[in-house]
Symmetry: C2
Subunit: 164 residues, 2 copies
DNA sequence: ATCTTTTATTTCATCGGTGAAATATGAATT
DNA sequence: AATTCATATTTCACCGATGAAATAAAAGAT
């Protein structure tokens, strides 16, 4: 991956070269990480969205949420969230029931089996997240965190500016 | 995008929390940037791979390359590169001819029209790459560059380690 | 009581990407 | 000359994702 970053973007006249290279680097790294993650998830028959959804539920004290809320977190459309929920229900990792207060809403809750599943599969992610930041010092991590947040924020701005 | 990063990954017991949050941040930012890029490319009827391929050719002094070489840079399979080349040829942005020395090889070369096309469409990317790094100081950029390279390198290592 | 809005699901269609294997051609090796 | 290797293309098939619009059900507003 590292090869070829240097060459591309050198002989480009106008264009803010430093920023363009950073963008490209960011894209390559991001998609590289994404690929690795999906690869680690494959044995557990999960894709990224399903994993994310499950983790959100797992992280909640009461282990529950609603489809529309989960759509936000997993940045998915409602249609997809229905699909994801279907898949997870079928595997017995979550349950779906109508909310008692507002019966339009659906309460999605992680099951005990779902929790066990997460506890069992999560450690298989450790080599990845450890390995990726293996040689990062604490200040490295703080810096990266700060810079990525800044970047994410700017991207959000652009999104809002063009497509309100 | 920024919302919800904090919440997820808080109440996860074992797991290296800092690194997990960084991974997630990286994934979100990367895919956010990717989305923005594709969005900017859409008016020019280019996808990311085609854009990349075209930029590699544009950046070459002689404006030429071969399919297999381009596969490397665009991290695409040979089948896809044939498709990409087909698309670009059809639009008159590149040409394809057999190499004189080794007639198995195909020489792909950007056309004058292709160069004009790049020069015309490239500026529409500036708002994106400028905007994204708008409030980044020079040291910010240097740091981000260093950290991303480190990250990319580690990801490469992992890839090689698991799938040789 | 009726109309509007919210929430989720279903239906349907599509899109873009992907890739393995067969084919074609030419070069290199023996 | 025959065999093997390298390069690119074609064929075929599939995958995963995606999303707009129609539907259903219930809450809220008037």
């Amino acid at each position: 991956m590292d090869e070829g970053i240097e060459r591309v973007g050198h002989i480009i006249p106008q264009l803010p070269a430093v920023e363009a290279r950073l963008s490209r680097l960011m894209l390559m790294t991001g998609s590289g990480l994404e690929t690795e993650l999906e690869y680690k998830l494959k044995p557990h028959k999960l894709n990224h969205s399903e994993f994310l959804t499950l983790m959100v539920l797992y992280s909640r004290p009461d282990g529950s949420s609603t489809p529309s809320e989960l759509c936000e977190y997993a940045s998915q459309g409602a249609t997809n969230m229905t699909r994801i929920a279907n898949a997870l229900v079928k595997r017995g990792l979550i349950t779906r029931r109508a909310s008692p207060e507002d019966r339009r809403r659906v309460l999605i809750r992680i099951t005990p089996a779902g929790r066990r599943f997460v506890q069992k599969m999560l450690p298989s992610m450790f080599p990845l997240i450890d390995g990726v930041f293996a040689d990062f010092s604490d200040t490295d991590k703080r810096h990266l965190n700060r810079l990525l947040r800044k970047l994410a924020h700017n991207i959000d701005q652009l999104r809002d500016a063009t497509k309100p």
